[in-house]
Subunit: 261 residues, 2 copies
Amino acid sequence: MTARSAPERLLAVLAAFDLAHPALSLTDISRRAGLSLTTAHRLVGALTEWGALERDGEGLYHVGLRLWEIAVLAPRGLALRQAALPYLEDLYEATHENVQLAVRDGDDVVYVEWLSGRSAVDVHIRVGGRWPLHATGVGLALLAHGTPEYQGAYCSGPLAAFTPFTITDPVRLRRVLAEVRRTGAAVSDRQVTGDALSVAAPVRGGDGAVAAAVSVVVPREGAAVPTLVPAVRLAARGISRALGWRPAPSVRPGVRYPVGG
Amino acid sequence: MTARSAPERLLAVLAAFDLAHPALSLTDISRRAGLSLTTAHRLVGALTEWGALERDGEGLYHVGLRLWEIAVLAPRGLALRQAALPYLEDLYEATHENVQLAVRDGDDVVYVEWLSGRSAVDVHIRVGGRWPLHATGVGLALLAHGTPEYQGAYCSGPLAAFTPFTITDPVRLRRVLAEVRRTGAAVSDRQVTGDALSVAAPVRGGDGAVAAAVSVVVPREGAAVPTLVPAVRLAARGISRALGWRPAPSVRPGVRYPVGG
């Protein structure tokens, strides 16, 4: 059907599954992967036998436990999340609001953890979900610490709007990013839904580079931003330390050093 | 090098990664997957380009974020864990000990969630880890609700010992399993390490079948088993309800019905 290589065809079968399509029939897979039914049948058979896919009682295919077992080894997935979890738990216990951990992938944030009280504000995000960088707190925190070239390119590109409050003006976005670097925290106000606000801070890895961002999402009404900022920054620093980050060693007693995460 | 099919070779590259080997060189991958260096190079290239693997600054390969994004769709992985998380959080807040969620895969339990206070007892388990059924609380809870045929076959097989307290006598294991069914909870005492005890309860899915098990692992010294059992059973019932399980509808007022999860 196509001139794609054998690995590409097999990976196309896996890529047929996404958040909106977690369970697929063989016909669905064949259509979504752009493969003939015969080829899809053969590849799905191999993936199922290996455990990468599982077939349920109705004949629908799901992602299998064996693929999950390997994927949890991803350093930017569950491994990052495992190091971060105690600090995310603390942040959740302190706020009882949605707590999130995200990494950058291309021009998106990908949420690798999401702790949510059953009563916390409803947000349109879940683990494995993606969102453009400029529209979320974690995205602003990650973008603000990208290279100047990357930031320039991102700000010049199209900035999608999700509410009337989403930042779509490049000049305003650049100003917001400078503010994020100055304060060590990003505040995203009603950019994804009209009733939520998020406060985020960058997480550094052992090499000192920003590797992730942590955030709290709260109902905008009554949001206590001045008290959330230090809590989120503290959690971000705790995770950074767990990842091997150490503040600059040249700190001398009596010298005030920047606490920016 | 071998007569394996193209999908088998590609999946062998992924299977080269495990908990003990989360970062591999191309040579490691070639050796562990049983592939020539040329073939490994070609397949690793395709997997890296697609995002299933990522190459770090030292030239080592890791599992990539794109594979993780697809794998979190596994119903028995993060999807189960997402439904269970609020109840696991409650159990963690109530006990501040290690809280775990596991499913059965073959003769093993696989841990799909693991909340751990930084001060909780050190256990030799992590997300994605495996352990034989008879040696853990979650495993006993899952095994006790397997078919009689499966239980019989398992009890007749070799029962590996990890401490002097691991159950290796088939007669004793059958007695323990009957007790688990009678009480609705499994207690595993120093079976994995000499200082830990776990209390587990089965989780049922929408079809009423046991789909997972939840447990708390505590230091054996001072463990308050009588108070842990109802907490763990309550969490298991909460998760079961979140998965669509409903107690038998024929309950009449005045009739005492079994509360076994």
